[in-house]
Amino acid sequence: MKTSRPPAFATWLLEWLALGDKNEALAGDLIEEFERRRSVAWYWRQVVAGILAGLAGELRAEWEEAGHVVAWTFGFAVAWNCAMSSYEGYVDSVSVREAMSGAAISPRFVIGARYPLGSAVVMLAMGIVLYLAILRSLDLWRFARGLSVGVMILGLEELGFRTVLPMRGLNLWRVIAFLWTWFSWLPLFVAVLLSMWTARPSWTRSSHRRPRIVG
């Protein structure tokens, strides 16, 4: 499919989420190339790859800070898991009591299972708010930036593990879950980690500390 203009939402996403000081030049390059000969699918592939490459580059360049974020994410994931298990235990006991007393609707309908996208997004949002509050850098812009990266990663994982790979005969999700049940937390862990990494305040960034562009 080829239209005359690149998808505006993709360009916005790239400029909003691509990290470092290169996003303006990168967005310009993609627009220039798209208008010559490329498709909308190519443009989207490049935008997603550009955002992921930016994240990976920053993680590599700032590994000490990355260590803090990984430790925080791990602690938060464990705490969240414990809280959810206790809550589900409580809900189960309420459900049993209600079932015995003849109530029709179980509270499980309200909270759902543990891993659907909705509860993952709630977990992401809670993690970012707590992380920024501890750093005393809580503001709406950082929160929105972190949450958009997390939701994008969750969407890509959902698409990759549950749609694209099974379609190609490789059900990686089941293989991982079979090998070690805790691996089922890995995609969510990666999403939380990258969203907190994106949301972190500018004073922790190397690009903030050392400008590199000449001229």
Binding site: G28, G50, A53, G54, I213
Partner: protein
């Protein structure tokens, strides 16, 4: 590959031509974002320097970022070529073995 593409392109080396050069030689689609990530790493090592050009309308008013190999980068390319040439010389003839 990125350093060689920069040398081949000379003064006109920015994201689009660099990616095309690599695509042409490798025969595979290249992510422009990954090219930028590599260039940033090379810049941190002082092998490459960059400057911003003027914004142009066909790029939605966004500026180009031009890259250039530094003298230190050029020395590194020469060293790598020497290493590759000597490794290549010592290789036995590449003949496919049948199972």
């Amino acid at each position: 590959m990125v350093m060689l593409a920069l040398i081949r392109l000379g003064d006109d080396a920015y994201g689009v031509p660099i990616s095309r050069e690599i695509e042409a030689s490798s025969g595979r689609e290249v992510s422009v974002g990954s090219v930028y990530a590599t260039l940033e790493r090379l810049e941190e090592k002082d092998f490459v320097s960059s400057r911003l050009g003027d914004p142009t309308p066909e790029r939605g008013g966004r500026a180009k970022r031009y890259f250039q190999v530094t003298p230190k980068g050029l020395r590194e390319v020469r060293k790598t070529r020497q290493a590759l040439v000597s490794l290549w010389k010592d290789l036995p003839e590449l003949v496919e073995r049948r199972p």
